[in-house]
Subunit: 150 residues, 3 copies
Amino acid sequence: MSTGTLWIQRAITLDPRPRGFHLITGDVVRELPELESMAAGMLHLLIQHTSASLALNENASPDVRRDFETYFNQIVPEDAPYWTHTLEGSDDMPAHIKASLLGPSLTLPVTRGKLALGTWQGIYLCEHRDRGGARTVVATLIGSDSSWLA
Amino acid sequence: MSTGTLWIQRAITLDPRPRGFHLITGDVVRELPELESMAAGMLHLLIQHTSASLALNENASPDVRRDFETYFNQIVPEDAPYWTHTLEGSDDMPAHIKASLLGPSLTLPVTRGKLALGTWQGIYLCEHRDRGGARTVVATLIGSDSSWLA
Amino acid sequence: MSTGTLWIQRAITLDPRPRGFHLITGDVVRELPELESMAAGMLHLLIQHTSASLALNENASPDVRRDFETYFNQIVPEDAPYWTHTLEGSDDMPAHIKASLLGPSLTLPVTRGKLALGTWQGIYLCEHRDRGGARTVVATLIGSDSSWLA
């Protein structure tokens, strides 16, 4: 079915978090009240930084998020002898790599006014710096208010 | 050129697969007959699980898909001493990590009624659990039936 | 706000690059003059290959891009004993893995005629083969010329 398309775009500022993996589904949805009026659509999120990333993973157990932090420190070591970009601190170059392993953006479907996530899926802010500060996410929400849902 | 936009959204159920990497391009396209009528568009797929993922890779050689399974088992070991989230089985926490290394979603261009993939590209269901069961993918197809193609 | 949606789609050919990570933001934007007239939108890029990928990372220091190449060679070794898909050369199977760790596509927001990237973000072509040749990227640009920007 052909309909007009709604476009909403805004920057969301996320409070500073410690290094690690943090659930931010609520923080994101709260900033997008227009989501509720969409029959079908997509939400695109881009984090405008190169040392933090976004992921979608288990939303219940804090130990999953802790194991993410442990794993990525293991696989992208700070003290590796091969780093040459070391001027901005030992956590900087590993943060760039982690950011690209996990990715800077998420695209999520919207169905009947809600994010169409699985029961156990939540949005993670992955903070890879020791002191990353506030982070900006550009949210682009596009959708239809009368789409054919089948 | 400004045109109305078509929106199609539906859930696709994928039959249970054994742990490993599986080509599902045909399974997905078969569920989206509206694809054929689109001049230009995008198909977004989200797997609604945190222990399986989607990827786009080589569609011809089964040994490529086998090497994917071997590699990810190597890089995300089940018996690592650092896992703390172990209650749901030794394949669970590695499955969460693999899911985020590969990602939960794909966005693919649609051109003249077909997915605009490269000759060798196919959609992979990456099943990271020993017994993952059926998997649900939400497909969102948006497009134009009279776009300017240049 | 509901508006008509603009759709632009075209293939962009990228000149052959040596194996490594290369900034291509300018090459991409140059091929999409329609970007300038969009108030709000999204640009989707898909690389139509399984041994090269796209990423978004630090756009200033060449040593960051060199460290990316070093890191991915370390983490996906060419001479690993577990590869079985070796017929197309020792750089082939690692290239497939790297391509899926980094991903074949990027979706980027467009705001007031420009890509809404962070100050330090640039688009990388990640060339994982020794002689990858020219690479094709399908660009799909959708947007609104009168969106409500808040």
